[in-house]
Every structure is written in C-alpha cells, then in structure tokens.
Amino acid sequence: MPKGQRTTRIVSIALNTVGSSSVAQFGDNNATNLKSRAIAVQRAVANNDEGDDVRFASYGLFTRPLLQLHTGITVGTRIDRPSPDIEIGCIDVTALSSSALLRAGCGGPLTAQTRVLHIRHFNNPGIR
C-alpha cells in the first residue's frame, strides 16, 4: 500500500457511464494500469484490397513503444505526518471512456494508454 493512506468520505456520487477500460475508484489503491486499443473501420468498398488489414499487427501504431521519462536523478520521498482525511461533497460525472480514471483517494503509479486508428474509406468516384 502507498505510504500515505487516507480515509475518503464522499456525500454523493452521480456517475452515468464508465466505458472501454476506464476505472472509477473511491478509496486508496496500489497501482493502476489501463489499456485501450480500437480500430473502427467504417468502409463502403475499399479500392485497395490490402488483404486482412483489420488486425492490430497490421499497423505500427499499436506496436510503437511507450516513451519513458529518464531524469537520472533519484529522489528520496518521505510522508511527513499521518495524512488527514479526504472529504468530498458531491461528484457528478457524465462519462468516463477509453482508459480514463476517476479516483478519490491515494494511489501508487498510474499508467494509461489509448490507441485508436479510425479508418474511413468511401467508394464515391469524387472521393478517394
């Protein structure tokens, strides 16, 4: 558990939609890792039939490595004194989507990635 544990008090929550690898967390957690991919083709008739192109492996976007921040500096962190509680009145959220996180409380490392692509061919003569 992260060093700074805290008690979270919330009066009311109105949450409409939590979709595609999203998380609504109330309270502490250790680590969060969210991943969402997608392709979303919407095609009439494709002129260039490249074979089976609706696979993640067909596109470099889905295999591109995640950039990491390397500062080369080590920082010693110390939590000064027991952390007071978190008090929240009301939370009203309409939607969480594609690797989104809503958290009321403490947490460890958070990593979230979203990749889409979204191809749209139309086979009208005037439009390629």
Binding site: R6, L66, I73, T77, A95, R115, R128
Partner: protein
C-alpha cells in the same frame, strides 16, 4: 554504508475538502484524481492513415442503392 539519494522530497499532506464537482467527460487516457499519487504516465495515440482522408468540409454518407429503399 547506505548513500542517501542526492534529492529528498518531504510530503506534508494537508486536509482535502471539496464541495462539489461537475464533469461532462473524462476520456482518452485522462484522469481526475482527488488525493495523493506517486507517478502518472498517460499516453494517447490517434492515427488515421492518409487514404481515408475525405476532401471537403463535410463527410458525405454513401447513398443507399435504389432497390433497398423500396424493400
């Protein structure tokens, strides 16, 4: 003998009191955090290949073939 790290960060947590929050949407690797955290890494990619670019202000929907409309 343990060599202390060159930089040290002391976190003094004050109380967190929030009245009310109204949010329409949190999307594409975004996050809304109320409380402490250690590290955050958020990545969002969106890539449409050039051949699916539509020339013109609006994206026209393909018209339905004749026989379907009478069915």
């Amino acid at each position: 003998m343990m060599i202390p790290p060159p930089y040290s960060l002391t976190v003094a947590n004050g109380p967190i009191k929030v009245g009310s929050i109204r949010i329409l949407g949190i999307s594409s690797s975004a996050s809304m955090l109320l409380g402490d955290t250690e590290s955050i890494r958020l990545y969002s990619f969106f890539d449409t290949p050039p051949e699916s670019v539509i020339v013109g202000p609006l994206a026209p929907l393909p018209s339905l073939p004749e026989e379907d409309t009478n069915a």
